[in-house]
Subunit: 687 residues, 2 copies
């Protein structure tokens, strides 16, 4: 086999198929080292897979799952593609030894995959590495002129960070087990290895406790996981090489505990499950021994249920109002020399850490828990940023980054992709300090997600973050990332993720009609407002009772169409294009005319009424773009007065309406600039 | 409440919403009686449901399921829309008494549903009727300008036939439990009440037997249901008011039994699981007592496992070759005066009937079992037609019709819809004889279906057959049926059926690309060949090992686009239209240009290569249509010679290629006729 070229950490990996049509490898995350060779291994019903070296049940299940996924991906039947002896197999899997019974942080996940025209060999130290390599193999399968095939290739791969996670908040909206399972499938596909399960918050307590049954009886609306279900999910994750870290948020974010156990709180009850979003006053009473007695018993029970070494106690956003208002707590603080609420929380954390440690676990908490009196083995999860993370590591603590990875803020994938745990404050750490940065976790806070749309909030953007945490630091080409991301997104359909498939049905519900072409044209170019703007500009305060059936709930966090349009306008500016110009005109014409197609639907659906002004804006903005294009076409300079007028209109169209943003405005502004030579005033950021 | 108009069994039911936009009710099957009134009941998060009268666990679960479906349909949360006391409820469900523990043939399924602006009331004798009525309520929910709403309405409904079924063959391709469950959800949605489970055939034995474990150990490739899974599915069906009738096909269609138990066969073994399709020689030995001993034991076990009163023994398509070749069998026939193989099979059936009866069950079998010496309580399932069915009823037997309802033949919904169990030979029966026609069953034989595409073969056409079996005989308007069918089809997405959602991913796999617009344009206007043509013209014989990933496996059995195009051409002919003419031109232009968009993809996918000739035909046919349209536009008569030439081209394009049919050919032929005044030769039927 002749190595034709070597690509190491390149943004764009192209392979020349036998039909001489260059194709991009869908690999995401990009492996540490990829050597592409000539030829390909055909994948047909006769494919066989065998295990040499160590074998065990977990590995065999991984192989069965791999074959099932491969069959699904290629449309083959359960009778095709068999497991055989290694001697006869086309794909030979060689594993040196078994995984730990309970998956550990830092276990070896490296693998080597060599594919030739004759066969393939996957080597790894552990079954974990084999699983990662099998996912790479699946991503390599392409439809070619000669059948399904994997290109001849040599890959040597290992993760950059040992902690690569996704947190899902199942408290604010309950997320059923099957939805979590399909998301674990997605996680495994992009080589994530930690599922952080945010199991309690003000809006619901979601795990059955045998010792304290009122936690779910009174604090969950009947929406919780039984202990059997928890075990089922942990086994499901374990099979996919994913650790499950439970979080029980304390002492704040804990109203749901108090509905059944008001004696834990710092203020008088009774309590009700919180229906609103935000930070609330109720907090555990850190001054009362019964609090610790309860937590000792509860954490003991949960430490048994959740086998992972790490145990997350939350610890964020305590506003301290209940503590301020409670004379006994104030007296306790004075008696113990605790000057501030932060001091009181530190006291609480120290006590809780002792309990967690007693039950054999290592404590994890959000930034706020960090106080130098805690032992050095705890892990800090930073929502505040790399500086905060760096500060922790300088004090000898280990940390993971979540700042920059909040999926609920509706940022574009490129923005998440640009956040590196080792950048900013962390860039200047010593090598030893850097070792303490374990990785990162994306966070899916669930104020505005339901089983129906949670996948579309997580995927495909999660895959870009997964690449950041797995691939070498210098894999940063955004263009390549987006090309691969689109492929991976469609490919994830085979795993049953619904980020693509739920879009049409949600739009049909909104339209009250099967004909959603006009609504889709609109929905394709808008995005939900960013950050916490949805709360800030809400006409009616949203609660956990609010239906999530509006246009904002259906549209994607990032508009592929608007990004494509932006690329076209950039190509036009760079003089690359009459074909770009033609496509720009086609798109702008469709957008200009869309309002007249959408308007008739508005009379038949209450869910469409709110988008009418923004739909009108789309028409206006497209008209501006077409006028600019006409000037450019005629080689005529657009008058300055005209340009100024358009800039003002564009600034209006840039503002959120119905909590939606029209994403083509900046590109149309560029067209006006290009047509007039007038520099536009800077538009306010879209958020 | 003023009744504004009464519609009784009308094809088209329109409701005037408050926004003065007429909307069609999605009801399917059409109820026996519908009275539409003014106003509507708003469905919002505050909706409450309560039970008055009889209540039990099955009813409560039905109500929970109803609310979950309603929440899904409207995008509401689990915290919205509660069950309350009947006194407080907006929707009051009143049930007189409980269902039978084991659902019986002919149990009362009638219901009345009255909806006013203030609330709704659903009355039924049994929980079965309540379930049917709840499905009607769900279908009535519309998106309106004032919110989700159900129109004020009075419905009195009951089924025409007591046996309304769907048979799924899980032998030729194994269909996993979750796929069956979602299809049971679909069945319940259109008020079907029998799931006929074809559990054994030459290609696989699919149910665990504790008494005869080799049936699945050796006869299933490991693809079978455990008895626990069978019980789980039966409970799932029971909750939805669906009986489960098992079928174990004998004495033919039974190779899979013989792999583990060759002594049951009439010829020497050993046997292997059959991989091909068709009718095969192996048949049970009807002359050996050990056969009946085995069957007594086996049927005894299965009679316990399946609670339904009816037990299907197949009995179809015995070719008799093994019997002819076995001297002992021949001797037995002579000794017992059995002149023909049919006589021998009748002897077998009589023996088996005695066994089935001994275990408390009533025997069901295909046409072939019918012989006057069998007791009158058996049920004949007719794949041969209404004449065969009528003959059975004249002899005093009860029967169900499956002829005309074979979903695997890829007929259009209208053709299935036109098949009435009481027509043809059955039309002249006496009232008493007619009583013996219990209903019908659609059949999903599974040579060419996998979990991925089975839904698209069953739905939405199944809903048209469901209407035939539920609604009054004079509900026959095909136009109305298709309008409602399209709505119901999209609405079934909420139940998790994948007939719509699997189309895009399958096409992307075929294209090996995310950009499937050209492939979809093509796929939207072709259909799989009909009847058994797929076998007849196959270049390579298909087996159970053949991947089902070709274009024929992805395209729908019935092209909505071609039907719409046909409607447009008919409108044009009827002079109804310049708008029709414009749309015809747009479609034809897209089709003409499609080949040049599709061709580049062909070099990158082996799965696209076979459609190249038909894609070329699409372009040719569309060009012909455009030329005809040009003549019509210019008010010029097309030359006869030109027309004759086009007719010859169209006849070529009418022929199947890649086992696909181009469905726009007949409409383009009409355009050529209209443009030239030349009557076209009759095209061969597309099949």
């Amino acid at each position: 086999v002749q190595t034709i070229f070597v690509i190491l950490m390149l943004g764009s990996v192209l392979v020349s198929s036998s039909a001489a049509e260059p194709r991009q490898l869908n690999l995401m995350p990009m492996p540490a080292s990829v050597q592409l060779q000539t030829g390909q291994l055909v994948i047909d019903p006769s494919l066989t897979v065998g295990i040499s070296g160590h074998t065990d049940v977990q590995l065999q299940r991984a192989l069965e799952r791999f074959l099932n996924n491969l069959r699904r991906q290629t449309g083959m039947t359960p009778l095709d593609m068999k497991v055989t002896s290694a001697a006869q197999a086309k794909l030979v899997v060689h594993c040196e030894h078994e995984n730990k019974a309970v998956q550990e942080l830092g276990e070896d996940e490296s693998y080597s995959l060599e594919v030739s025209t004759a066969g393939a060999k996957l080597d790894a130290v552990t079954a974990l590495g084999i699983m990662r390599g099998l996912e790479t193999f699946l991503q390599l399968v392409q439809t070619t002129s000669d059948g399904f095939a994997v290109p001849a290739i040599a890959i040597h791969d290992k993760p950059r960070f040992p902690w690569r996670g996704l947190m899902i908040d199942v408290s604010r909206h309950f997320i059923p087990l099957d939805v979590l399972k399909r998301n674990l499938d997605g996680m495994a596909a992009v080589k994530l290895n930690v599922f952080h399960w945010h199991l309690s918050d003000n809006q619901g307590f979601r795990v059955e406790s045998k010792k304290f049954p009122r936690l779910t009886e009174m604090g969950s609306d009947g929406l919780f996981y039984t202990q059997d279900e928890v075990r089922e999910l942990i086994a499901y994750a374990h099979d996919r090489g994913i650790r499950v870290v439970p979080e029980f948020d304390m002492p704040g974010h804990s109203t749901a505990w108090f509905v059944g156990y008001p004696e834990l709180a710092s203020g008088p009850g009774p309590y009700e499950i919180e229906r609103k979003w935000g930070v609330f006053d109720p907090a555990m009473d850190p001054t009362h021994e019964r609090t610790y007695k309860f937590l000792d018993s509860f954490i003991g029970e949960m430490a048994q249920l959740f086998p992972d070494q790490y145990f997350h106690i939350g610890g964020d956003e305590v506003n301290g109002k209940q503590w301020d208002a409670n004379p006994k707590i104030q007296a306790f603080m004075r008696a113990h020399g605790l000057k501030t609420n932060q001091d009181l929380q530190a006291y609480f954390n120290t006590r809780v850490q002792t309990i967690v440690s007693k039950h054999g676990k290592t404590m994890v908490g959000w930034d706020e828990i960090l106080r130098p009196d805690l032992p050095k083995d705890i892990v800090v999860q930073s929502w505040r940023g790399q500086d905060s993370l760096a500060a922790a590591t300088r004090q000898g603590y280990r940390g993971i980054l979540s700042y920059g990875y909040y999926l609920d803020l509706n940022w574009p994938a490129s923005r998440h992709y640009g956040v590196d745990p080792m950048s900013d404050g962390a860039a200047n750490l010593t090598p030893e300090e850097k070792q303490r940065i374990l990785g990162g976790e994306a966070c899916m806070w669930s104020e505005y997600v339901a089983p129906e749309n949670i996948d579309s909030r997580i995927w495909p953007r999660m895959a870009a973050i997964a690449e950041r945490l797995w691939s070498p630091q210098n894999v940063t080409d955004v263009t390549s990332m987006y090309e691969r991301l689109q492929n991976v997104s469609r490919w994830l359909d085979w795993l049953g993720l619904t980020h693509n498939s739920s879009y049409g049905p949600m739009l049909r519900r909104i339209a009250g009609s099967n004909d959603i072409s006009a609504l889709r044209t609109f929905a394709d170019v808008v995005e939900p407002v960013k950050d916490y703007t949805r709360e800030e500009i809400a006409a009616v305060e949203a609660t956990s009772l609010s239906p999530l059936n509006r246009v904002i709930d259906a549209v994607r966090p990032e508009s592929e169409t608007a990004r494509h349009f932006s690329d076209l306008v950039n190509a036009l500016e760079a003089n690359q294009g009459s074909s770009a110009q033609q496509e720009i005109r086609t798109l702008l014409t469709r957008w200009r005319d869309n309002q007249s197609n959408l308007q008739p639907l508005e009379t038949q659906s209450f869910l469409l009424q709110e988008i009418s002004p923004l739909s009108q804006d789309l028409s206006t903005v497209a008209t501006i773009g077409l006028q600019a294009l006409d000037y450019i076409d005629r080689g005529e300079r657009a008058p300055e007065a005209w340009a100024t007028e358009q800039f003002a209109l564009l600034e209006q169209a840039q503002k959120p309406k119905a909590q939606l943003l029209l994403m083509i405005v900046p590109s149309v502004q560029k067209l006006v600039e290009a047509s007039s030579g007038v520099k536009a005033p800077q538009l306010p950021p879209q958020k």
